[in-house]
């Protein structure tokens, strides 16, 4: 926002109308530690001086080169073909604010329909919606579908779920009256769904088929939270019988951009189509037999069901979904497979070489992984600091996210994608080996 039009008087009038005494009082729901306290700008600075100050502040951000970025944990550096921005920056798509009226926007509706088709094919499910905001809220929406569908009030997570996804689930559960339980011991007659992430937050492959069977044996739904690129190599959720598949679509042509906007996807079996939240586009024929697209199955939405709507989602991330469609279409099944395989090969090469360094080992050597993997080391901060000095963003320390799991205390989750070229991998290995040597010497 380069220019704010509201004067102090405007703000005071608006706050008064809202019944808030100050901006702080208005923003009371945002944790204080996340609120801007002060930029420390003295009064009377010119626009030019102000911009210079801001640029100096922004300059303190550390930006790592794509190829030297070895951290994933939910948001990934991937190659984005130029075709993606070429298509999404067409003004018909870029400047139109979610036009859904069929008579006004066949192109937009067709693009959404194609996204739904691509997601349904990728996940092996019967039907997908027009997209959601992100992977975490897609997972929470899936949990609510299961709660409404089964009339039960607990959802159980199996394996290592992204801790922020778990937080979002807990938040939705508080509002919608379901409990989040962790671990298969909790699966029982009150379980609406068994939720698992494939691969897990640590990068490990879960027994998706076995977990789905456990869910079904207890009359619960199986919800698979999947990495879309992984489906270039792994069996899709539809194949192992999952009832709902969700995930984060950022890897499909979207930049990390500080965590958003990204795009969530959700797909289900046909029997659950009326429980899917948000927008769905259907293909239809007009009275002359010509193909057309319309919004369909919106009867559970707020504008019709009001307080009884089963979801408060009334829109989608159309432009981000379009980016994902262009990416998937451009790559094709073969291209997607190649992306997954190259990432897999590079991660395995890196894992093997890191594990050969004294003081570093694979955290779970018996478990399979694709392109993200946990390693255990004696001196986590020391290693990550040496990597930073070399311009490399190392893996994510898992310990702080799981304080009650001592086996994750010294674990760092590394990630490779197709952007991490062999020279970048050599650099990581060299720096880590050197760091291990200096750490040992420091101890002696």
């Amino acid at each position: 926002m380069p220019y704010l039009v509201h004067s102090t008087d405007d703000r005071r009038a608006m706050l008064e109308a809202l019944g808030a005494a100050s901006m702080d009082e208005l923003l009371v729901d945002i944790p204080a530690r996340l609120r801007l306290r002060s930029l420390g700008l003295e009064p009377g600075l010119s626009e030019q001086e102000t911009m210079a100050r801001m640029r100096a502040l922004a300059g303190r951000n550390r930006v790592f080169e794509d190829r030297l970025w070895f951290r994933g944990a939910g948001v990934y550096r991937r190659f984005i073909p130029a075709a993606v921005s070429a298509v999404i920056s067409k003004p018909e798509f870029y400047t139109a604010y979610t036009p859904y009226q069929p008579e006004a926007s066949q192109g937009t509706l067709q693009a959404i329909f194609e996204f739904q088709t691509l997601i349904a094919e990728l996940t092996g499910m019967d039907v997908a919606n027009a997209s959601l905001y992100d992977g975490a809220t897609a997972l929470a929406e899936a949990a609510m579908m299961a709660v409404v569908h089964t009339g039960r009030h607990e959802v159980v997570t199996a394996g290592c779920l992204h801790p922020e996804y778990a937080e979002v689930l807990r938040c939705y559960g508080d509002g919608r009256g379901f409990q989040l339980r962790s671990g298969l011991d909790h699966v029982g007659p009150e379980t609406a769904a068994v939720i698992f992430q494939q691969p897990s937050f640590l990068g490990l492959l879960e027994d998706a088929s076995g977990l789905t069977d456990i869910a079904h044996r207890h009359g619960a739904l199986s919800i698979a939270c999947v990495d879309p690129i992984s489906l270039g190599m792994l069996a899709p959720p539809g194949e192992y019988g999952a009832d709902i598949a969700v995930g984060e679509g950022q890897q499909l042509g979207l930049a990390p951009s500080y965590g958003g906007p990204h795009v969530g996807f959700i797909a289900s079996r046909q029997e659950l189509v009326r429980r899917l939240p948000g927008r769905l586009v259907g293909e239809a024929r007009d009275d002359r037999g010509r193909r057309g697209y319309v919004l369909t199955l919106t009867a559970r939405e707020q504008h019709i069901r009001r307080a009884k709507a089963t979801s408060n989602i009334c829109t989608n991330h159309s432009l981000c979904a379009l980016a994902a469609s262009v990416y998937l279409t451009y790559m094709g099944p073969e291209g997607l497979r190649q992306v997954a395989e190259v990432s897999h090969q590079r991660a395995h090469a890196l894992a093997e070489r890191l594990a050969a360094i004294p003081g570093i080992e694979l955290a779970f050597p018996d478990r399979h992984f694709l392109n993200e993997f946990p390693v255990r080391m004696f001196h986590v901060e020391h290693h990550l600091a040496r990597l930073r000095e070399a311009g490399v963003l190392g893996g994510l320390p898992a310990g702080p996210s799981f304080p009650d799991q001592p086996d994750l205390a010294n674990v760092v989750v590394f990630c490779c994608t197709e952007v991490n070229d062999p020279a970048a991998i050599d650099l990581v290995v060299d720096v880590m080996a050197e760091a291990a040597r200096t750490a040992e010497e420091g101890r002696r």
Binding site: G151, A299, R300, I304, R305, K308
Partner: protein, 125 residues
């Protein structure tokens, strides 16, 4: 055939041997237009008179269904999953929605045939 009673929210109920069969009226189906989906409760659910027990969705609207009686859901009309149009073609027969084991007697406030007819006079639009 047992006597049918009606609610002001356009459900009907007929009781035989302590079991209430519940549906929506011919007037209601005509107002709704083509029924495309029904969301019905699961067997075993306890209902109080006036509880919402499901949703009927037509090409025109989605409306709540209200139970005329108190009791336990014994059976739901599974055929409507694949043939919801029966609610339109045969609302008092094959288009029934649920059967409920009555808890006590029929409540107050239900309308008889004549009472319901006078209610719907002039209501159509």
């Amino acid at each position: 055939m047992a006597d049918r009673y009606y609610t002001e929210t356009h459900e009907w109920v007929a009781v035989e041997d302590g079991v209430a069969t519940i549906g929506i009226t011919d007037f209601a189906q005509a107002q709704l237009g083509d029924v495309v989906f029904l969301e019905l409760p699961r067997v075993g659910k306890l209902l109080e008179a006036g509880d919402s027990f499901g949703v009927v969705e037509s090409v025109k609207a989605a409306s709540d269904l209200y139970s005329p009686v108190a009791g336990t859901v014994l059976e739901i009309n599974e055929d409507l999953n694949t043939s919801p149009e029966r609610v339109n073609t045969d609302p008092y027969g094959q288009g029934w929605l649920i059967r409920v084991q009555l808890n006590g007697d029929l409540g107050q406030g239900l309308l008889d045939e004549a009472g319901y007819e006078s209610l719907t006079q002039g209501q159509s639009h």
